[in-house]
Amino acid sequence: MRKEIRLSGAGGQGMILAGIILAEASLFDPELYVVQTQSYGPESRGGASRAEVIFSNEPIDYPKVVKADILVCLTEESLEKYGEEVTDEGVVIADDSFGGGYYHPERANFYSLPIITTAREEIGLEVTANMVALGVVDSFLPEIDSSCLERAIERRVPQGTEEKNLAAFQAGQELLANVIE
Amino acid sequence: MVEDIDRYLREDKLPHIWCPGCGHGTVMASILRGFARSGIDQDKTVVISGIGCSGRASGYLDFDTLHVTHGRAITFATGVKMANPDLTVIVITGDGDGAAIGGNHLIHACRRNIDLKVILFNNNIYGMTAGQFSPMTPTGATATTAPYGNIDQNFNLCELAKSAGATFVARGAAQQPRQLIRIFKKGFAHQGLTFVEAITQCPVNYGRRNNLGGARDMLNWQKEHIINHRKYQDLPPEEKEDKLPAGILYQVEKEEYTEKYQQIITAAQESDDQ
């Protein structure tokens, strides 16, 4: 098993923290290996932002995503940039604030979801969109127990914000269910 | 109307990479407004900057511009000015760039009284590298490398520059762009080492970590703590403590370095002619 996940968006949307939390979830599973990387650079000030997480049950050699199994895009630019670098069965999760531009009618697993809206409206904090996104990712990630992710969220988000973030995560978990229903 | 500074901007490089509310943009604009008022030829002006958020300024300004190594802008500027004293040479530096790693070049440029316009963007932090303390970080403030509070003494760069020999020393703040513009205008007209400490806010890597609020709150802090140097003088000592005087703090006329060197050239050439 090697599972490649790429989280992308704009600087300030917290994609890197989301990546770290995703990776940190592996701490609670003794058989999982994980590598997490990110794009640094002036990009991180306003421009695009990207985190990558690879899970495996063997030591991981090449640490970068080759073709993502799961791609999350909170901005249209990131979808344009990374939309092609996904495996054939890969899952693409995009925020629903942009529909046009890039769209793959052929891609079975393309989900346009109200991630940012959920964060803003349900949680009341747009900055929790990253946790909503994590919740969505969780639905596609049977390899990781949700409780591990929740643990990781508790450990990594700023003190005092745990509840909001967990709520956002749970809202994300439900998002997909709602859509599929 | 405010002077038009568009001709000094490289519009295709803008908007700049500075964060929302970063004071660097305000200071940069003020420099240009002061420059516009100075009447100096744009083509005869060189802007040299070091590394840091502040250092990025040179890329946005439509002059001959040079973006060098961390802390060394003054040394390159010295070479440019010596080579061609007709040029106006502006150095843009940060409190890390100019006061930490580059501190020696600053004092020696002051000592020479070479006609460089050294403008130090003081945001009390290393912005570019994300929040380590600088020599200008106040005692007690926290930073990524001062998690338990900074134990260094407060540092008065204007005093330092003056004691090292600068002949024009001023302090201004992003909160007071009008004063800054006046300072810059006069600084550009000065012959000799011109040092301007421009206090600017870094809401992202300084303000946030020290609970100073956003850019607007930090500007209000400046308003309360940075006061005209004449008013400052009249304050009782205990009130002075947490305040900083602003304005042109010191200016004297002394012979400038490249002028003195020109005299050596003239003398050497005359004695060579004989």
Binding site: - | M1, V2, L9, L14, P15, H16, W18, C19, P20, G21, C22, G23, H24, G25, T26, M28, A29, S30, R33, A174, Q175, P177, R178, I181, G214, A215, R216, L219, N220
Partner: protein
């Protein structure tokens, strides 16, 4: 007669919504929209130029009425 002026959004795209101009405007002219600044009450503008001088992003330009 006090000088009057008119504030313009010279480069709306460059606005980073920092709100500094709102803070420094002595009268109510500017408002922060979701993405960028908005000139909510242009008629209030007294042309003081505070906003133009303080904006870190070269977004605003004030035209003095007697300049026009």
């Amino acid at each position: 007669m006090a000088k009057r002026g008119k504030v313009n959004l010279a480069r709306p795209d460059w606005c980073k919504a920092c709100g500094i101009c709102v803070e420094v405007c002595p009268v109510e002219v500017l408002e922060l929209g979701p993405e960028r600044i908005e000139i909510a009450y242009p008629d209030n503008c007294v042309g003081c130029e505070n906003c133009e001088l303080s904006c870190p992003d070269f977004v605003l330009k004030v035209v003095k009425e007697n300049d026009e």
